[in-house]
């Protein structure tokens, strides 16, 4: 996924807001929710990878 963590979070925020405001049409709903799920997975992985990367820096 060629997107930064920041961009992914921003998009997720927007999607949730759109859903809450009922601004998503049924035609796009499935695509939107799928995309959001993919973004969440991506963000989780990015978090875990980053955490692993910096985890060892402050030991010893």
């Amino acid at each position: 996924m060629k997107i930064t963590y920041e961009e992914a979070i921003k998009e997720l925020q927007e999607t949730v807001a759109q859903l809450q405001e009922d601004e998503v049409s049924i035609d796009e709903l499935s695509a939107k929710v799928k995309r959001a799920a993919a973004l969440i997975t991506y963000c989780r992985e990015k978090l875990r990878a980053t955490e692993e990367e910096i985890g060892g820096l402050f030991e010893g």
Binding site: V16, D22, V33, I40, L57
Partner: protein
């Protein structure tokens, strides 16, 4: 003309002196030169003009070995510092005139407090001058690195303080490494100020710079410290581009060099401790910063994770709600369709009825009822007289029947 031999004259002078100066007298003067010969000390005493270097009085004096030993017992190590070229002293002297050797002052006693007072006065004047020239804080403004490790040490190679300093640095409990280079200089006596100043200038001029200069000296007498009150030395140290740290080994009062130094500590050991502490403090700050960073990033991670989990939960719910909402809308539409359709049909029916009525009103039967007739020729409506040609049969329709007639 009365004549005298030289001996007679000198004998006369000796008698005059002996008569007029029967007891020793106290004389304030400066030791101009000092020579040691077979245990005796030969002094050249001078008095200079007020505030200038011109000598206005000069006499030779001697401190015999026996008297020196006696004074040494009384004044201990201080005597060595009193008997220095350039020192202002108050001496008790016996004026001795010998026909063969001339005038000589024989030193009987030395007043320590006088010299101390003179030094103190001089020290105050120097301090005032350094203050006026704004040199007291000058070296303090040089930058001492967070961890000074390359150290240029000015000391006497034989000084006990130097050894303490090096040992303290090498055996520090944290295992920090220091590079120490010793630049030798006399730490006492009249040469000390110039030698120390020369080394300061030498170190400052080196291309590979040091982090700091340390002036280290073990313990010693108060008078020993006069070297560190020297004006020229203080100026050199104050103007030194490198931070100057002092550990001059004294307890009671600071010397002027301490006042112009970047940091003054009591002993060389204290300088070493200061340097080690400085490094240790920085290290602990770094460790703490590392912990804080780690804590903060952990917090950031858990916040982000929490947010993602919340979204992961809420997104399906929102989507489901949306779907449900749509389903409801469809249901509503479904219910709305039959009544709407019925209404529509009713309207259509009404319209049809209206059309029916209009059609009925417009029908030929309705016209006939109102008294009109309808005439046709050969089944076609005769709407013009031309259609009724002679011999044609007209069919005329009334409301209650039909009549045929022939045109004449």
């Amino acid at each position: 003309m009365e004549q005298h031999t030289l001996y007679e004259l000198n004998e006369y002078v000796r008698q005059i002196i002996a008569l007029n100066l029967p007891a020793p007298v106290w004389v304030s003067c400066e030791i101009y030169q000092l020579n040691l010969s077979r245990g005796h000390r030969y002094l050249s005493l001078v008095q200079k003009a007020e505030g200038r270097d011109d000598i206005i009085a000069q006499s030779d004096a001697v401190l015999w070995q026996g008297k020196f030993r006696k004074l040494e017992r009384k004044l201990s190590h201080n005597l060595r510092h009193l008997l220095c070229e350039g020192t202002a002293v108050l001496l008790q002297v016996r004026v001795d005139f010998n026909e063969r050797y001339g005038l000589k002052l024989v030193v009987e006693d030395i007043d320590l407090t006088y010299t101390m007072g003179q030094l103190e006065q001089q020290r105050r004047a120097t301090l005032e001058r350094l203050k006026q020239e704004q040199l007291l804080a000058r070296n303090r403004n040089t930058l001492l690195p967070l961890v000074p490790q390359r150290l240029a040490v000015i000391s006497s190679p034989t000084a006990a303080g130097l050894e303490d300093f090096v040992r303290q640095l090498e055996q520090n409990e944290y295992g920090y490494r220091y590079q120490v280079k010793v630049f030798p200089a006399a730490m006492q006596g009249s040469n000390a100020p110039a030698e120390i100043a020369r080394q300061i200038q030498h170190i400052s001029s080196l291309t590979r710079s040091y982090d700091a200069i340390v002036i280290a000296r073990g313990g010693g007498a108060r008078l020993d410290l006069a070297a560190f009150d020297d004006y020229e030395l203080c100026v050199t140290a104050a103007r030194c581009p490198l931070p100057v740290l002092t550990g001059i080994g004294h307890e009671i009062d600071e010397v002027l060099l301490d006042l112009v130094a970047h940091t003054a500590l009591k002993t060389p050991t204290a300088v070493a401790e200061f340097l080690i502490d400085r490094a240790a403090r920085l290290e602990s700050q770094l460790v703490e910063a590392g912990h804080a960073l780690s804590r903060l990033t952990q917090r950031q991670f858990s916040q982000q994770r929490l947010q993602l989990e919340r979204w992961a939960e809420v997104l399906p719910l929102l989507a489901a709600r949306k779907l449900q909402h749509q389903a409801q809308q469809i249901g509503q539409l479904q219910h709305m369709i039959p009544p709407a359709a019925r209404q529509h049909l009713r309207l259509q029916q009404q319209q049809l009825q209206q059309f029916e009525q209009i059609l009925h009103l417009l029908s030929p039967e309705a016209t006939l009822k109102r008294g009109y007739t309808l005439t046709t020729v050969n089944g076609q409506p005769a709407t013009s007289a031309k259609a009724a040609q002679t011999g044609a049969t007209l069919t005329t329709r009334f409301k209650d029947g039909t009549v045929k007639s022939k045109v004449q």
